[in-house]
Each structure stands twice: as C-alpha cells, then as structure tokens.
C-alpha cells in the first residue's frame, strides 16, 4: 500500500506582505479622508477672479505726467524700473499692495519716476495685453490701462485677454479704442516690446516682478523688497535718493 501523501501544513501568510497590506489599507483610508475633505471644503471655495473696474484707479494718476512708458516728472532723480508681465498674479499683488503708496509718496512729489518695463514671459495672453498696454502710452494712459488690466486679470493662458475685455477696459479709462487697436498692431509697439525683452535678457531678469533702480543716468541696479508693502520699498528709495 502506497504511503498516504502528507497533507501540506496550512500556509501562513508572509508577514512582509501582511505588513504591506496593512500599510496600504491605512494609507488608502487616510488618502480617502484627505481627498474628501479637500473636495468638500476647498472645492466649494471661490476660484474665480475679480472683475472690478480699473477706472477707479485713474484718480491715482491724475495730474502726474506720463511720457511713453514712464510715470512721473521727467527730471525725477530716481527711476524705478518695473519688469512685469500683465498675466503674472504676483505682479498684480504688487499693484494691489505697495504700488499706490509708491505713486503717492514718491512719484507725485517728483522724487521718483516709474518705468513700465513690460515683458511677456507667461504666454500669448501676456503678449496681447502687453501690446495694448504699450499702445495706450500713445494716448498718455498706459498706467491707467495697466491698472485696469491687473484689476481684471484672469487665469494664466486661458484666453482671458479678449478683444471684448480690452475694449471694455479701454473705454473705462477713456482710451480711443479704434486708435488703440491700430497702435497695438504697429511695428513701433513690436520694436518696443522686443527692446524691453532684450533689456531684460541683458539685465538677467529671472521673472516678474523684478525691480531695478536707476539714479540719474547711472547704471540700473537690481533691488529686492522683502514684501510688497510700502515699508519694504521706503529704505530702497531712501537709499537711492540720498546718493
């Protein structure tokens, strides 16, 4: 009689696999909780953009001379150069924070003049907005138009810079829309945009906003405020004005 085959002992689960299974189950539970909280709490949040009119900011610039891309007295001893992209949300933060105080405290009294050094680094919407902003300089309202564009800034590269938006904002700040369109398509605007982009390259501008200070006809030097509050800009201007 052949020997009876022995029954194999019951297989014990591999403890390493068991541990991984426990880890996976715990992880799945935590991830499920996190995702549910994120979707319920954050998903209900407002991710839209404001659509306030830029016209309200026009008063800020009333009576201040505008020469091309510059704002302020021609003979102001200090020039503050702002490399910015109209699509950049951080440039918008600067515009909403310290910018108005700089205009009131330094530009209006003739101590500092600002130069809009617009560059288009983020995409097609940046390019279109920049062309129209530069074109607005021909009508002496670049700064009002830039403020209006920032106030209505949309999500990056979603096609938010439409003709309708540009026309509405142009009319808000008192620009001649037909002339603006013509100027925006001009070779001169192309030349200006290219010149500023080349200047940014030469100065090693890493992104936007990037600020430079120029004293008289001296060489511009980069400055980096620790925040966009006016308190961070005051020492920069005090230093430049004392030289």
């Amino acid at each position: 009689m052949p020997p009876k085959p022995r029954k194999p002992p019951p297989r014990r689960p591999d403890p390493r696999k068991r541990n991984l299974l426990i880890a996976g189950a715990g992880a799945a539970l935590v991830v499920a909780i996190l995702v549910v909280v994120s979707v319920v709490v954050a998903g209900g949040g407002d991710s839209g953009t404001t659509t306030t009119s830029g016209a309200a900011s026009s008063a800020l610039f009333d009576g201040i001379p505008q020469n091309g891309t510059e704002l302020g007295a021609k003979n102001a001893p200090v020039t503050f150069i702002q490399f910015e992209d109209l699509q950049c949300p951080i440039c918008r933060s600067y515009q909403e924070d310290g910018f108005s105080d700089i205009v009131r405290e330094y530009v209006r009294p003739g101590k500092v003049k600002l130069r809009f050094a617009g560059i288009a680094i983020l995409g097609q919407d940046s390019e279109k907005a920049l062309r129209y902003a530069l074109a607005a300089a021909n009508q002496g309202k670049l700064w009002e138009y830039v403020a209006a564009i920032y106030a209505n800034q949309g999500e990056e590269n979603t096609g938010w810079v439409t003709d309708d938006v540009l026309e509405r904002l142009a009319k808000d700040v008192g620009l001649d829309w037909t002339q603006l369109q013509k100027d925006a398509a001009s070779a001169e605007v192309t030349r200006q945009a290219q010149a500023t982009a080349a200047e940014a390259g030469q100065l090693g501008v890493p992104g936007t906003p990037t600020f430079f200070v120029k004293i008289g006809n001296g060489k511009p030097y980069a400055v980096q405020p620790t925040s966009f509050s006016i308190d961070s800009f005051r020492p920069i201007f005090a230093d430049a004005l004392s030289q």
């Binding site: 880890a23 991830v31 994120s38 954050a42 991710s47 992104g207």
Partner: protein, 138 residues
C-alpha cells in the same frame, strides 16, 4: 540592496522632501518671495482654494509627512518600517490627486509641487515597498 542602504536612500529622499515641502510652506506664508517665471503656474496653484485643507496648508502636511519619514527611518523596527510604507503609500495616493487637480481643475502647474509629487514621492514609495518586502538578512 541591503536594509542599511535602503534606509540611507529613504533618508536622502526624505531630506530632499523636507527641503521642497519646507520651501513650499515658506512661500505659502510669504507669497511675495515668489516671482512668476516662464515656467508658468507660479502662484496660481499656491493661491488656489486647494492649497489648504481645512485651514492647514497642503505644503505643511507634506513637510510633516517628510519629517515623520525621517524620524521613522532612523528608528529601526518592523513597526517603523510598516509606518514608513504607510506614509509613502498615502503620499503617493495624495500626490496622484494633487497632480490631477493641477492638470484638470486648477489648470496650472507648480514646478516645485511637481518635483515633490512626480519625483520624490514615487521614489519614496518604491524604496519603502522594496524595504518592506525584501528578505530579511540572516
């Protein structure tokens, strides 16, 4: 690869994770430290409503998770090994969710978040699973 080598590799990845998550936590509280670069996305992701979970910055959760991995990898026990695997798998699952959000909901890419979600977290998961399943040394 020996258990010691795996522990060192996990520790190195965790240190990189602490650095990236620490930077993202810093810019969450100091957004002015950011500039927009041609990479795009920049502050859009950080300012989106998904950047916080019940008031806690997602970047801070990441920083805590990476710190926990560092502590656990220093503690050589089976429980610590299992916990590292749990954190790694949880991080991998949540990273998939965060990448999906950036691609389809926020519609913007945060370069440092991508480094964390697509490089460091998958690396951690692979190393942690490998360490959990490997045959113990005699």
């Amino acid at each position: 690869m020996s258990d010691r080598a795996l522990r060192i590799a996990i520790a190195v990845v965790a240190v990189a994770g602490v650095a990236v998550a620490g930077y993202l936590t810093y810019v969450h509280y100091q957004p002015d430290a950011l500039i927009c670069t041609s990479h795009g996305g920049c502050e859009t992701v950080q300012k989106s409503s998904y950047a916080e979970l019940a008031g806690i910055p997602v970047a801070l959760l990441g920083l805590l998770a990476w710190s926990a991995v560092l502590v656990l990898v220093a503690w050589d026990s089976e429980l610590a090994r299992t916990l590292v695997a749990a954190v790694a798998l949880g991080a991998a699952g949540f990273a998939i969710y965060l990448v999906t959000l950036q691609a389809f909901v926020i519609d913007a890419w945060c370069i440092w978040c991508m480094v964390n979600d697509l490089v460091l977290v998958p690396l951690l998961a692979i190393l942690a699973i490998w360490r959990t399943l490997r045959t113990p040394e005699a």
